[in-house]
Amino acid sequence: MRELKILGVVILFTLITYWGVEPFAHSQMHAHHEPATFKYEDITPLGKKGNPQRGAEIFANAGCTGCHSVKSQNLPAPMDPVAASASYGVNPPDLSDAGALYDPKYLAAVIKNPAHAMKLDHKFNENRPFPMPNFYGVGGDLDQEVADIVAYLQSIAPKEVEPKEAFVNACGRCHDMKYDNWYVIGPKPKMDTELEEAQFNLKHAEYQENLKKYLGTNPPDLSMYIRSRGHEYIRDFIEDPQKILHGTAMPRVGLTEEATEKVVTYMENVGDRKKEKRESLGPLVLLYFIIFALLAYAWKQKVWRDVH
């Protein structure tokens, strides 16, 4: 009985200390924020039903393809990533998956006023315009035309997007993921000569330099972010970076909840590759020590029988 009482005291003080230095301290250090809802409530919906056929026409005439590729429709990128970053600061995204990844309300808002939809008004203004111009329409009703373009993008988007694809499209033009061999200019191919290696590194450095001019800082490699930030934080951050880290250079990217989960899944696959192994080995090791403790107890009882 006495031993149990002592054990209770030890456990109690251990738990108080643990509670103090972990949950309590962290709640004091990090400002509380509302969890992500992915409703994008600050954006007013257009209230129009888009027509994909008309959208395709407008898309072709509005000059979107001057900067954006749509590989699934055989529309190649007009420039390679490094040249594009020299012109725009960052390589403009391919739009094949856009309809599946991004919230339709957000897509419409981005087409009309990109800097505002991305919540980058504090960085871009008349003196320093955002690289993608606002869309003022091709002559008809602006909102209807925007709705048509969004409908077109949705019509060409695949039903399922792989986690890695979601990451590459939404994050991978600013962030490296070197533990999965992803770099802002694309995957690093197998190199045979030092020259090729140096050329790849040069391109990467040039792109990074352009990106730094554009954003003011180089976005971090995200390989270990699942461990350094955790699932919840990344989810909330993607929904609205400014809410979590005020003044950050990162734009709001407008991913749907589903696409966000895909991105996080990919980050988990890369940064916590052994999660499955860990979770499958854990119960076995614990079971081993439960049996170990039981056997030890049985042996102890036997040994102590004559001592008491």
Binding site: I16, V21, K274, L286, A293, Y297
Partner: protein
């Protein structure tokens, strides 16, 4: 000259040369431990096991770790965590054991304080134990630098800077310790050397001393009773096992220890697999960046109480700057427990609950150290700064003033009773 005759078995052959039978008796079957003990007496064996886990997991981490500021982070987080077979397991075991070992050390220390196991001939046990605590702290600090994450870097920056507070030679000393003007490659490689070679050697040496120091005064017991170990051992050997007040280390003592160890290992491996973030701070999964301080810097939990004493003094007093007072208090806090046998002026060896005021003192000390630990992690602003200040004052007062006073009174009473 010893007599060597033809041996009839391998054991006999070895016994003639290595005295195995005698050795087994001395170390195991006739190494006597009091019977009147509880599970807190098993912490020594638990600590030894944790040290072995750290040593073994460390050996395997060492096979792939690269002590270079450009390579260290990736060698840990990619090569070891993602490529090496069971590399992730070794790292989690190493990281969690490094944290949990301090929990057990603190339990072990407070057990010693509670039962008065640091006096009446047991001073060397206490001192060698405190030396182990200090070398373990150095080992933990140097090891924390190796993954070269943000916390590694900034902890190294802040702690090495502390030496700058030493008068006259401070600034030079900081550069000398770092091997550069800032925490750099030279710093990483020398702390790597300390972590994997010099400090483990020293620790193993002191563990030997700690065990040896138990031999003469023997292990204490739950009542602080003085036992005639020779007489009691004779009883046990004569078969009067129930009557004897002692038990042999093997198999009686160890059988209970192994059960306690088994329960502890369930707890430990639960942490390794399911609850490791407390020991492997998420911020340390960001690579070190000398140009960017993380918003919150804090040491691992086991250093928080002394860290809070360091920063608890946040205002100048007369000619002394806040930083100097903090440094002095920090210096005192780190060595004060060494003096435990002399700060306690009473000859009474008994559990705290039989020592009146000392009992209260014990719990106040424990609570104060937990307060220091918790507030050591909180941002030091507003009311937190004042709580830290009063807890630090309380800590110093408890050990430097209250303890000698209480125990002197006790000594008087004990003297009067006798």
């Amino acid at each position: 000259m010893a007599q060597f005759e033809k041996a009839n078995s391998v054991y006999e052959w070895l016994d003639q040369r290595l005295a195995l039978t005698k050795l087994t008796k001395v170390l195991m079957t006739e190494y006597w431990i009091p019977k009147n003990i509880n599970f807190l007496w098993a912490m020594g064996v638990v600590l030894m096991t944790m040290f072995k886990i750290l040593l073994i997991s460390g050996i395997f981490l060492l096979m792939y770790y690269k002590p270079d500021t450009k390579l260290a982070f990736d060698s840990v987080n990619y090569t070891i965590m993602q490529e090496v077979w069971f590399g992730w397991l070794w790292r989690h075991m190493h990281g969690v054991a490094a944290s949990v070992v301090f929990l057990v050390i603190y339990i072990h220390m407070f057990t010693g304080i509670y039962y008065g196991s640091y006096k009446r001939g047991r001073e060397m046990i206490w001192l060698s134990g405190m030396l182990l605590f200090v070398t373990f702290s150095a080992e933990a600090f140097s090891g924390y630098m190796l993954p070269w994450g943000q916390m590694s870097y900034w902890a190294a920056q802040v702690i090495t800077n502390l030496f700058g507070g030493i008068p006259f030679i401070g600034d030079e000393l900081v550069i000398w310790i770092r091997g550069n003007f800032y925490v750099a490659d030279a710093t990483l490689t020398r702390f790597f050397m300390l972590h994997v070679l010099l400090l483990p050697l020293v620790i193993m040496g002191i563990i030997g001393l700690h065990f040896y120091s138990l031999r003469i005064p023997h292990v204490n017991n739950q009542e602080g009773e003085e036992i005639d170990f020779d007489a009691e051992a004779e009883k046990f050997k004569a078969g009067r096992k129930a009557e004897a007040k002692v038990i042999p280390f093997w198999p009686v003592f160890i059988s209970k220890d192994l059960f306690v160890l088994g329960v502890f290992m369930i707890f430990y491996f639960y942490l390794v697999f399911y609850h490791y973030n407390f020991a492997m701070d998420p911020i340390n999964f960001d690579p070190a960046n000398p140009m960017k301080t993380p918003p919150h810097i804090y040491p691992e939990w086991y250093f928080l109480w002394s860290y809070e004493v360091l920063r608890g003094f946040f205002f100048d007093v007369g000619p002394l700057s806040a930083m100097d007072i903090g440094l002095m208090a920090f210096g005192i806090a780190n060595v004060i427990f060494f003096l435990m046998p002399w700060l306690d002026r009473s000859p009474v060896v008994a559990p705290a609950h039989k020592r009146g005021p000392f009992f209260i003192w014990f719990w106040v000390l424990l609570v104060d150290m937990i307060v220091l630990t918790i507030w050591g992690k909180l941002p030091p602003t507003g009311i937190n700064a004042w709580i830290g200040f009063f807890a630090s004052i309380t800590f110093l007062g408890l050990l430097l003033v209250a303890l000698p006073m209480i125990t002197k009174q006790e000594a008087k009473r004990a003297g009067g009773a006798a």
